[in-house]
Amino acid sequence: MKKLRYTSIDGKSSSFLALLGGLGFFILLGFIAFLQMEHEGHHITGMSNQVIWGLPHVFAIFLIVAASGALNVASIASVFNQKFYKPLAKLSAVLAIALLVGGLIVLLLDLGRPDRLIVAITYYNFKSIFTWNILLYTGFIGIVGVYLWTMMDWQVEKYTRIAGTAAFIWRLILTTGTGSIFGFLVSRQAYDAAIMAPMFVIMSFSFGLAIYLLVLLASYSWTGRELGDYVVNRLKNLLGVFIAATLYFTLAYHLTNLYATEHHGVEAYILLNGGAITAIFWIGQILLGSIVPLALLYCPRPARLRKMTGIASALVILGGFSTLYVILIGGQSFPMTLIPGYEATSTFSDGVIAQYSPSIWEFMLGMGGVAIALIIVTLALKIFRLIPESLDDNFAKPHQS
């Protein structure tokens, strides 16, 4: 195997500047949305006292879940000692940090009082999974930062495995914490399920790898670097396994609910008669987000491998957003049962499906978070030597058996 040469990208072309400009534009839009929401109050959004968390949370939680998953490629290299993945590891760690920062910014800017950030980091209630998440998220950035350092500085390279293992364990706990935001909620029919934590972990594998694949494909294609079929094949096969695993958890979650009569109402709402929610579940999450990518990944025509992998990854991301939309909005809009056997009516939407249509401000804020994550990766690729000049099939040869 020839020695790999890691280089930063040129970043002088007009298309690179256009990319930065485009991302900057979305960040600006996100900032405007934040100012507008904070000035006017949340009444300009689609959120209400019934649907409490809206589109910003779909974006934020998607980015946070994907962040821990994006680290997988690095973990496979450092923790499970798969040398083939080593050249891909630095980008994986940078992407993980970038996605988490993007998600956290959206979460923070959607708070009713974002100016009280100092309160959130000085007053702690340790029974709250949110408190644990504040520590897990900030800790993740620190630990992955150290891990990245051990990968980039030969003097501390010997600590890569320890740092990588710590980051891997941390990311598992982190996504458990994110899933438990819903797993620990006893109030609503769609939540209060232990499966939420492992389901979020497996979802993170899938969403994170899909984003990683798109960023990798774009980085190599847009800079004219060579990326061999073998690398793409390995990663796309892995993505297929993660998609199937996510589907399995989704199936287990709904089957369990369908067995218990008390959950039939919420299941009928999500699977059958929930209108937009049902459509997003079947078309967004299941068909476009799972079945079609699986078909694309496992039945590709060799000549169009990259294209198929790219489309499949984009669809997995679309499916990821759909999944979180169904969990968040579907779970909140279905009414609570105050007294079993009785149907309720009130001025506070008791007993009825709560209406929610996201506003443009929420979308702008969410897209701002995505743009922040992507601009961090873009700038990191320009500043640091993160990716090898070539990952052609010669590099991969020793790994082929």
Partner: protein, 259 residues
């Protein structure tokens, strides 16, 4: 005086004695009844003065304030408790029911199979084990020693996790800038709020809440669940009372009769 006359005289004497005894008995019974009635009513009437505490004195876990709602008395279409609460705390209609704060609401319930209907007010249930307090990252959601669940508006960051966690949907988020708030109810944009069980009245020693006072049907009883002599405790002891979503084990301080 012949013996018969003597007898008659004695009889008359004993009769008058018996009459007097009867009178004493009646007085005694009457007095006992009055005393019993007094004892029974006294806590209800005197509770306010008994429970009043100086402002500087901390609230105590000796009390557990709560409400008892008799749904059989709650009149269909009546909104008096809601109006009173809104007036007491300065809650106004702003952008409509989806985003406006509602500390108390009337819920109409209809049995799906029998068609039986009932009405009841819903508000913060002031749980002994409140999920909103558990999930609050900063500790802004808290429970007082006397069982009243509140939000500290100074450290609420507006994350709304408490609203996700509340099984009674009792909390509201302030979706817009507020003006002219009342001193008894500090409220502000971007924070979460809910029924305070009229803590300003409780702490003042009023011994009642705005909703309980406003209810013409006397369907709402406020009182100390820990005080066996309180009216609420007696009503609960005599006729029972159900907790909403009792299976969650949260032990709410608000109880319902007639469900």
């Amino acid at each position: 005086m012949n013996p018969i006359d003597q007898n008659t005289d004695m009889n008359q004497k004993s009769t008058s004695k018996l009459n007097k005894i009867d009178q004493y008995r009646r007085q005694f019974v009457g007095g006992t009844v009055a005393a019993t009635a007094g004892l029974a009513l006294a806590p209800g009437l005197l509770l306010q003065t008994v429970q009043a505490k100086p402002a500087e004195q901390a609230v105590s876990s000796k009390n557990r304030w709560g409400l008892l709602i008799d749904t059989t008395k709650c009149a269909d279409g009546c909104n008096d408790c809601v109006t009173a609460c809104n007036q007491e705390h300065g809650l106004r209609e702003i952008h409509g029911p989806a985003t406006d704060a509602q500390w108390i609401r009337t819920v109409k319930l209809k049995n799906k199979s029998t068609g039986h209907t009932l009405n009841m007010p819903m508000m913060c249930q002031h749980c002994e084990n409140p999920p909103c307090v558990d999930v609050c990252p900063t500790g802004a959601s808290f429970k007082r020693e006397d069982g009243i669940v509140l939000v500290d508006k100074h450290i609420c960051i507006g994350c709304r996790y408490c609203m996700m966690a509340c099984p009674y949907k009792a909390r509201s988020f302030i979706h817009e800038t507020l003006t002219d708030q009342l001193p008894v109810a500090p409220r502000g944009k971007g924070t979460v709020e809910a029924c305070t069980l009229c803590m300003h009245k409780v702490d003042r020693g009023d011994g009642t809440t705005a909703c309980a006072t406003a209810c013409k049907e006397k369907a709402i009883t406020f009182g100390d669940l820990n005080d066996k002599n309180s009216l609420i405790a007696k009503k609960l002891a005599t006729n029972g009372g159900r907790q909403l979503r009792a299976e969650l084990g949260l032990n709410p301080g608000v109880r319902y009769q007639g469900l």
